[in-house]
C-alpha cells in the first residue's frame, strides 16, 4: 500500500518536473511594450543577445496564446486598465515579468500620471530593475524566471504602493485552456 502511494507520488512529482522543464524552454511571451525599455527589449530579442537560446524568441501578441507577460516600460494610469485586461485574458499558468524600474516601483516618475509599480495592479513574478536594464540583465532575469517556471511557482500577491504591504490578489476566475476551447466550440 505504502509502496503504491509513494510510487504514484514519485510519478506525479516527476511528471510536474517534466512539465516544468518543457514549459521553461518554450516561453511564449507577450511583450507589452510601452516605453524606453522597448529599445533594450529589441536589442535583447535581436541577433546580438538572442533570447531564442532560452526558448523565448517568439513573441505572441495575443494574450490567449502567451504564458509570460513582459511588461516593458512605464505604465501610466491611463494604460493601467489595458494592462489589467491583458493580464486577465491570459490563460493559466501565467507569469509576469516587470521589465525596467518603472514597472517595478514607478522609478523616478513619482507623479500624478504614473503607476507606482505594476505589482499594485497585477501580481509580478520577476523584477528586472534598471533604467533600462542591460540585455545581460534581462537574460539573467529570464533565467530566474525559468527556475520559477520549473518549480511551478507563481506570484499571487499585490502590494500597496506606499507601505509595500502585500495582500492576496483577487484575481478573476482563472481562464484555462479548457475553458477557452469550450468557449470556441460554443461560439462556433
Amino acid at each position: 500500500m505504502s509502496f503504491m502511494s509513494s510510487a504514484s507520488n514519485f510519478f506525479t512529482s516527476k511528471m510536474s518536473d517534466a512539465m516544468g522543464w518543457a514549459r521553461k524552454y518554450s516561453i511564449f511571451q507577450y511583450p507589452f511594450v510601452t516605453a524606453c525599455c522597448g529599445m533594450e527589449y529589441m536589442s535583447t530579442a535581436a541577433g546580438h543577445y538572442d533570447v531564442d537560446r532560452f526558448g523565448a524568441g517568439f513573441p505572441r501578441f495575443s494574450p490567449r496564446q502567451s504564458d509570460v507577460l513582459f511588461v516593458v516600460g512605464t505604465i501610466s494610469h491611463k494604460m493601467a486598465p489595458v494592462l489589467k485586461d491583458v493580464y486577465d485574458k491570459m490563460c493559466e499558468p501565467k507569469w509576469v515579468v516587470a521589465f525596467g524600474v518603472c514597472t517595478c516601483t514607478g522609478g523616478f516618475y513619482d507623479n500624478y500620471s504614473t503607476v507606482m509599480g505594476i505589482d499594485t495592479i497585477i501580481p509580478v513574478d520577476i523584477y528586472i530593475p534598471g533604467c533600462p536594464p542591460r540585455p545581460e540583465n534581462v537574460i539573467d532575469g529570464l533565467m530566474k524566471l525559468q527556475d520559477k517556471i520549473q518549480k511551478g511557482e507563481q506570484s499571487r500577491t499585490l502590494y500597496d504602493p506606499r507601505t509595500k504591504i502585500g495582500r492576496p490578489a483577487q484575481l478573476q476566475e482563472g481562464y484555462s485552456v479548457v475553458q477557452h476551447i469550450k468557449h470556441i466550440e460554443s461560439s462556433s
Binding site: 510601452t34 524606453c36 529599445m39 501578441f61 501610466s76 500624478y112
Partner: protein, 441 residues
C-alpha cells in the same frame, strides 16, 4: 433586393503588434478602405514637464533622456543648449564637436530603429535583425563614451560629462564602416524589393500644404519636398562648418520618407567623419601628465593637504557601475564657476573648489539663470525638437516645455490614412516613427 452596407468601426491599439508604440486608433472602415480615423494618445504620459518644475536644471537631464529614447543624445543637447542660451554662455570648441558627433550617432540609431521596425512589420524580419546589429555597433560607441547604452545623461550645462577616450576615432571609423555595410545590405534587401516597394509607394501620402499647416518638420516635411532642416536654417554648434546635404523627396509618400531616412543616415555618417577630422584638442586632453592614482587615494591625499600636482594626475575609478575598473575621463566644460562643477581634484584639494562645489549642488543654491524665457530648436531625428524654458531666477525651472516633433505628425495621421487601405496603416505608421515618450511626454 438591394444590399445594405454600413461602415465598420475597428479599434487598433493601445497594445497592438503592428503598433510599436502605445497609441489607439479608432478607424471607420468601408470594407478595406479607411474612411475616418480618430487618434487617441496619452498612454505614456509621464509628466515630463511637471517633473522638470520640481527638480534643478541639472537634474532635468535624466528626464530628457527618456523623451525620445531612440535618440537620447539629441534631447540632452537640445535641453543643454536651451539652458545655455538662457544663461548666455558659450562652450569650448571641443565640446561642440563632441556634441555633434554624439547627436549624429543618435540620429543614425533612430533612423535604423525606425526603418528596422517598420520593415519588420512589413515582414522583412532579416532587415530588422541586420539593422539592430548595426545599432548595436553604435550603442557600443555610445557606451564607451557615456557609460550607458540608452539613457545616457551625457551632456552637462556648459559642456559634456566626459572626454572622448583614446583611440576612439579609429574604433568609430571601424564601426561606421560596419554600419555602411549594413546599410548597403538593407538597401539591397528593401529598395528593389517588390513587396516592400509596392506597399510603401503611394501610401500614406500627404501634400506639402498639409504638412506645413500641421506644423510638421523633419523627414516627414523633407519627404514632401521642402528642404527645411534646423541644422541648415539656424545652424547651432558647429553645423555651419560641415558639409552635408539635406535630402528631400517629391511626393510625400512612405517610400519618400524611407529614402530620406536612408540618405540622412549617410549624411550623418559623413558629418561624424568630418567632425573627427576637424576636432581640436580640448582644454583637457594632453594635460594629464602625472601618475595614475585611484580615486580614494586622491581623496586621502587631499585631506592631508598634499594637493601639489593633483590636477595633472590621472584618476581611475574603481570599481564603476559596470563592475570593472575604468579610467575617469574628465569632462569638457566652459570656464564658468557659477554653472560648471569644479574638477574633483579642486573639490577635494582646496577650499575654493569645495565651496564652489557646494554652491552648485546644495539645495537652494545651484545654477541660477536670470529671469527670462528662451526657445531653442535643434534638429531631432523626427524633426524640430525645441525646448522652451521660463526661468524665475531660482535654481529650478519655472516651466519647461518641449516641442515634440511627433506630436504634429500624429495629429496629421488621419490625413495620411484616409482613403488608403486598412493594410496601409502598417507602413504609414512605421514611417511616421512615433516615439511615445516624446509624443506623450
Amino acid at each position: 433586393m438591394s444590399t445594405q452596407t454600413r461602415s465598420m468601426l475597428l479599434n487598433v491599439g493601445p497594445s497592438h503588434p503592428a503598433m510599436h508604440g502605445v497609441i489607439r486608433l479608432i478607424m471607420e472602415l468601408d470594407g478595406e478602405k479607411i474612411k475616418g480615423v480618430d487618434v487617441e494618445i496619452g498612454y505614456l504620459h509621464r509628466a515630463f514637464e511637471k517633473m522638470c518644475e520640481t527638480v534643478t536644471y541639472t537634474q532635468c537631464f535624466p528626464y530628457t533622456d527618456r523623451l525620445n529614447y531612440v535618440s537620447p543624445l539629441i534631447n540632452n543637447v537640445g535641453f543643454a543648449m536651451a539652458v545655455e542660451k538662457l544663461l548666455g554662455i558659450d562652450i569650448p570648441e571641443r565640446a561642440k564637436y563632441i556634441r555633434v558627433i554624439m547627436s549624429e550617432i543618435s540620429r543614425v540609431t533612430d533612423h535604423l530603429t525606425c526603418i528596422g521596425a517598420s520593415s519588420m512589420e512589413l515582414g522583412a524580419m532579416s532587415v530588422f535583425l541586420y539593422l539592430i546589429k548595426a545599432r548595436e555597433f553604435l550603442y557600443e560607441l555610445v557606451e564607451e563614451i557615456t557609460g550607458a547604452r540608452l539613457t545616457i545623461s551625457y551632456v552637462r550645462i556648459g559642456g559634456v560629462k566626459a572626454d572622448l577616450t583614446p583611440g576612439f576615432t579609429d574604433r568609430a571609423f571601424q564601426k561606421i564602416a560596419e554600419v555602411r555595410k549594413v546599410l548597403i545590405e538593407a538597401d539591397k534587401l528593401l529598395t528593389r524589393n517588390r513587396i516592400f516597394f509596392d506597399r510603401m509607394k503611394n501610401t500614406g501620402k500627404i501634400s506639402a500644404e498639409d504638412v506645413i499647416s500641421h506644423g510638421i518638420t523633419g523627414p516627414f516635411l523633407r519627404g514632401s519636398g521642402i528642404a527645411y532642416d534646423v541644422r541648415k536654417a539656424n545652424p547651432y554648434l558647429i553645423y555651419d562648418r560641415l558639409d552635408f546635404e539635406v535630402p528631400t523627396g517629391t511626393t510625400g509618400d512612405n517610400l519618400d520618407r524611407y529614402f530620406v531616412r536612408m540618405a540622412e543616415m549617410e549624411q550623418s555618417l559623413r558629418i561624424i567623419e568630418q567632425c573627427f577630422q576637424q576636432i581640436p584638442d580640448g582644454p583637457i586632453a594632453g594635460e594629464l601628465t602625472g601618475e595614475m592614482l585611484p580615486a580614494a587615494e586622491m581623496v586621502d591625499r587631499a585631506k592631508m593637504g598634499q594637493t601639489e600636482g593633483l590636477l595633472t594626475d590621472e584618476v581611475d575609478l574603481d570599481p564603476t557601475l559596470q563592475g570593472s575598473t575604468k579610467k575617469y575621463y574628465k569632462g569638457i566644460s566652459a570656464d564658468k564657476k557659477d554653472v560648471v562643477l569644479p574638477p574633483k581634484e579642486e573639490t577635494y584639494g582646496n577650499i575654493e573648489g569645495l565651496m564652489n562645489h557646494f554652491k552648485l549642488v546644495m539645495y537652494g543654491h545651484g545654477i541660477r539663470p536670470p529671469v527670462g524665457e528662451v526657445y531653442f530648436p535643434v534638429e531631432g531625428a523626427n524633426g524640430e525638437l525645441g525646448f522652451y524654458i521660463v526661468s524665475d531666477g531660482r535654481d529650478q525651472p519655472w516651466r519647461v516645455r518641449v516641442h515634440p516633433p511627433c506630436f504634429p505628425i500624429m495629429s496629421a495621421l488621419p490625413k495620411c490614412l484616409i482613403g488608403d487601405q486598412m493594410a496601409d496603416l502598417v507602413p504609414t505608421f512605421g514611417s511616421v516613427n512615433m516615439i511615445a515618450g516624446e509624443l506623450d511626454r
